[in-house]
Symmetry: D2
Subunit: 422 residues, 4 copies
């Protein structure tokens, strides 16, 4: 079943130094159009507008996730004799490599409006893209569906699912290190080799030696810091708000049948439901299309679309005010104030709640074991640090900076905002 | 004349840790459209197809060049009392920040076909872009032209020119470190702080203490290694060849008045001369436009354009054969062989000479001085290592891999190539 | 008052890249015998027996602490105009440079037995070492005492004291990064430049901008991880136990007037009280003396001293058992069991409680302020992460590994230990 | 024959992240007295007096050399099926681990005076130290001698010899990276993984793929830069001169039967020939002994010994003058001038020639091969860079700085030196 490449292949990588490929299957998957397309989807969406170094793509992250899985499997094979069969090994490697293949442009920001639910699309591509599916079927006919089921967290291969998607998965291990390196921060740093060394497969679970608890804490904290300092940075959220408003405006114009520039690649997403869009159509859409289109919209007839697009493309972002949590009636009041100043609050105002995920035990906690393998319960039982990580919410209002400065007609808004400040 | 920002501003950077801005002028230049556009031009063009990490933009490099200049000036001010006036300091900082502002999409690869001579455009933008020029004029009316003259290496401000563009310039210092970091190689590594410390301004020249000669050698070698291992990597050159052929094909189709998809942003470059293109038109063009357009061309009617674009977008690149230098008659022979196989050699064959620049003393050598400041002549007089760096040329043929494998009708080509191998 | 060195001097440093010296005072202090002696005292005592890379000295750390202070002062001067006078600047720099000058060999481990209370000795050296004191007096006659008072945390220069010794001091900033680098772990990593940037001097306190809270958390966590993973690593504690037992045995032999090799440098510490030891005598003692002496003791007549020294020098360390906290009566029982096996529990058994310091608000908490400088109270009010860091204690028993394996006569001990296990 | 440790053991390392041990043989060798003693011998001798970070020991380097060999063997096994038998694998690993076991204190500096010829001692220890030899004999009776023969470059196992000691050996690979990291310079940086990947075993030689030539160049240059910037740094050479003079003075005093402090460990080296010194005696000597003894000598009766020791211990080093090569008669003249000033030139003057080794093809050049394995000859045939590295000599005079300043009676010396300056 297993076919090797002629010689061990490598990719030079800034995080892992080298990424090693010896299975022809993996090599061929990397060379598909669907996978190469990930070069045109940024790993961190609009974060490059905050941290200029965050220009890396999902392509590099996907290779890194594969390599991390390869390292975990090598440790498991050397020290615990798992996996015993090559099909499971390949399943784990393919799922790691392809876990993000369904991501569209700026998915986390605009997928709801544009029907990009990326996990669904990942599964569709795995079983419906002629090129990808064909390669996977070389293992056997059920293989594409099995990879898709791992992505869908179905429980046929629970250990593989754990490694792909849990509190302790190879996806997160790679992105924390990679995003930290590219943004230039150390917040996402943790001891990767040591973390892998304290993991072990036990039954259907991946558990951790008690003596490795602090290493797991460091890794959990890396995520905590990256969320607050990078992923939910107010400037990034502000960029997301703008992008979402741009897209919402286009949708409104389209629904009203007003004239607006739309490339062929984008039309299906406005006119049809996700189920009616083919895998081939989906794969046409990437950030080259979106970026080009937004640049065109900076010259749109519609003044709102033109203005919002210009703000996004040329980085004249909305400003932010930290507030306490607002009641609905308060939100109505400020919306009214915006309307009075001639600003449509649907496009020039946004209430955002940014929630840093704490540590969740349910479904996917991290179990500790002692030297003899005895179950010691979830890490949260043992670590006050982990328990302290309950979700934290921040309430923020985003709107144009000229409004925040309270110039001229915006003075009443400024006054109201000051009163709401945290 | 000098206006500070309210508080010292910083950008987090993966190479320099922080980039410090205290001049309002710099801050405002960064926020112009023309400068933000550099986020949409990759620093290393097509290199990401070789080193997947090379996804960084000219925006990040331009900030880094500014920061490197800031460090050099700080050293010069602390230890040698230069520059004495703030206008020269600002001139150096602005020239560093803006030195790449005229780069178009994949400039090094396609600027000849598409009229992007980037240094000319940099100068035009500096004196003709309303936003940029206006900000520069805050210093005084001559300031935009002075910055442009520095870029053009005119000799009014020889020390600033030296620092921007010579064998020992801040541009190169930043890009070597940044390209190395992003590709994940150490070839471009050198001792930045020490290099700066051994530099000193003397008259119209920037010279180096003899005791720092080895540090300069390390820096010169960093360039040597980056050229051979990264910039002139055969896979990158192969990508460049494809891209150039795509663009050449479009030009041919346009000249023949055949139907081909062309966005508004690209038309001026096919129909008019550079001088007739406005700065505003020029700034519309970036890699979003080019990438989107090439994706469209993967569905073009013309089979050659369709095929070449598909190869580029989906990374099915040409293969390479190292040869000895070929005579014109040999080139004709192989072109004929291609034609006989039904492959148009204009698009499916390329002879490339990749030349690693050696060290050039003329005009911009590096002068050593002893402790007392006495001129010891050019570094090449003292360093056999530097003298050994004469330009090296590699001769390579690029064509489709199926041809190189010599399958079926391509067998004769294969045979001919084998005979030419180095 | 201020005298500069001829040219800016630098030291190449693996943590800070360069350490900059421009004051002749600092330069001359570095060249004193008392400061050079710090090269012969390891920064992490016995940790090199756990992490082989931990071979760095207090000399390198002291230079790094100076450099960190220099960076903090540069930020404070640039952005807040403090300190306004050069004497305070020098006071801060000297205190940072000299804060560890009183450390003796393996101080943290054996200072109680050998009268090395290092902070007291630091103060004595500052005001009593002819070389050091003379240099400091160049500023003025009170200067040596002022530096000593800063070390003693007296409140004449509260801001300087804060920077030298608090939850947010330059000592800790340097040692976390340096110890992490040398041991090869990332646990001590944090954002040094950013941490410095969010600090500000307000009245008598150094406070932190609220927006920098997460950066402070990262730094506090760095300490937490370094304590549990490095400083209190059981193998290091085990090495400390052995060393302490070696020294205790020598003291007993000396008190019993038994013959034991003792170099002249060590005798004062056994025969006199600290107050009766001169600064000159104190400075004779360093790790060269201690290490040489211990090697000699591996050939001592006394079998216990010989055995313990051999275990330390050749790294045959005691093993460890994690237990619950033991009552005095339990401790007596196990001591008795050791005695029954012919092992003197004073030398072959040790009960250790390793306590990771949590975050303490009292005296030296970290105050947050908002943008306008308003006091928001201690960071522990705002951060559940910081609050979760209450001190944690681990109870451990150390004794020879052959005992832990429970071979032969040691079987009963093994049984008893198993029952006590955590 | 092969016995594994219970679980894969690891050492945390700042250069390689982790060092992996699975053979019980290796584990047991690390725990011998002879190997642990390497913790008390600094890797770079007196270099810490120039680069304060250079405090690392031969212990850490020896572990790193082992790990580098392990990586090379893993690559060779995976891709070329060599070594086929476990005895050769163990031979290579043991030779790498133990290659420096015969180093004495400051060996490179003082081994001639004190009979430490370290390679000879390495071989003697391998076959004569009861602990080490016993462990090696577990493989078979000939094994200790075979390891010793590899160290002696005998040709029974030519491939292993190549990997241990040639232009492309694992010793150098580790020390370049480690010394660079600890001194804080980048000069020794090179692409370790890639270098290993382009190496291949062919017959009795380790050769390199032509496509890897630049990587080899980078590695050869790393050595070139480390020699000139670190290993032959004038301050380090100055420290070496002092140390050698200290030892020479002691030898003179001993020969004259004058009273001088001498610890038991040192006496054999003054009174007997190397052949008459036992392995046990040899292993007693390390840098703790030497450092302690030198501190004692700072209080010696002999004024020359006292002064020189004090200069070394407290870092009041000799200064340096770069000269042209001096004739014997010129040397005599300056020696006479020193004598006239009351300075014994045997102890206060030193003529040093520091020669940076170029690249030598003879015996141990680096052979390139093409893709098909065809021999292309030595790298120096192909690389002008490598050819440019002919040995370079620097001529330097070392003497007390007060002499160099030419104060008072030293004025004539100063004048003479100025005339000799390069």
């Amino acid at each position: 079943m297993i076919e090797w490449v002629d010689k061990e292949k490598v990719f030079k990588d800034p995080v892992h130094d080298y990424i090693y490929v010896k299975d022809r299957l993996i090599w061929d998957l990397i060379n598909t159009r669907a996978f190469q397309r990930l070069r045109r989807v940024k790993q961190l969406g609009t974060s490059f507008l905050t941290y200029h170094g965050a220009e890396h793509s999902r392509f590099t992250h996907s290779l890194g996730t594969y390599e991390t899985m390869r390292k975990v499997l090598s440790h498991f094979e050397r020290n615990f004799g798992w996996p015993t069969d090559d099909r499971v090994r390949l399943l784990a490697l393919c799922a790691a490599l392809l876990h993000d293949i369904g991501h569209g442009p700026f998915s986390h920001t605009i997928e709801r409006v544009f029907q990009f639910h990326h996990e669904t699309w990942t599964q569709r591509i795995l079983i419906d893209d002629p090129e990808v599916t064909n390669i996977l079927q070389r293992v056997d006919d059920d293989f594409p569906q099995d990879v898709a089921d791992v992505i869908a967290k179905k429980d046929k291969f629970p250990l593989v699912v754990k490694l792909i998607s849990s509190q302790l998965d190879v996806d997160r291990m790679d992105y924390l290190l990679r995003d930290a390196m590219n943004t230039g921060v150390t917040y996402g740093t943790f001891e990767l080799e040591r973390l892998i060394r304290v993991m072990r497969p036990v039954g259907n679970d991946v558990v951790v030696k008690k003596s490795g608890m602090k290493t797991v804490e460091q890794y959990i904290l890396a995520r905590y810091f990256m969320y607050s300092q990078v992923y939910l940075h107010p400037v990034t959220v502000s960029s997301d708000v703008l992008l979402r408003h741009v897209v919402a405006r286009v949708k409104t114009l389209w629904d009203r049948e007003e004239s607006v520039f739309l490339p062929a690649e984008l039309k299906p997403f406005l006119s049809r439901k996700a189920e009616q869009i083919s895998v081939a159509e989906y794969l046409e859409l990437d950030e080259s299309v979106m970026n080009y289109t937004m640049q065109r919209w900076t010259r749109a007839d519609d003044p709102i679309l033109r203005d919002l697009s210009d703000r996004f493309v040329n980085r004249h972002l909305f400003g932010v005010v930290d507030t306490r949590e607002l009641k609905e009636v308060e939100r109505q009041t400020i919306r009214e104030l915006f309307r009075n100043c001639g600003l449509d609050p649907d496009y020039y105002l946004s209430f955002q709640t940014a929630t840093t995920g704490g540590y969740h035990m349910y479904h996917q906690g991290i179990t500790l074991v002692d030297e003899s393998g005895r179950d010691l319960g979830d890490i949260s039982k043992h670590s006050s640090l982990v328990r302290s990580l309950s979700p934290e919410s921040k309430f923020r209002i985003f709107c144009p900076k000229e409004v925040l400065r309270g110039e001229g007609k915006y003075k009443p808004i400024r006054g109201w905002l000051d009163a709401m400040k945290e």
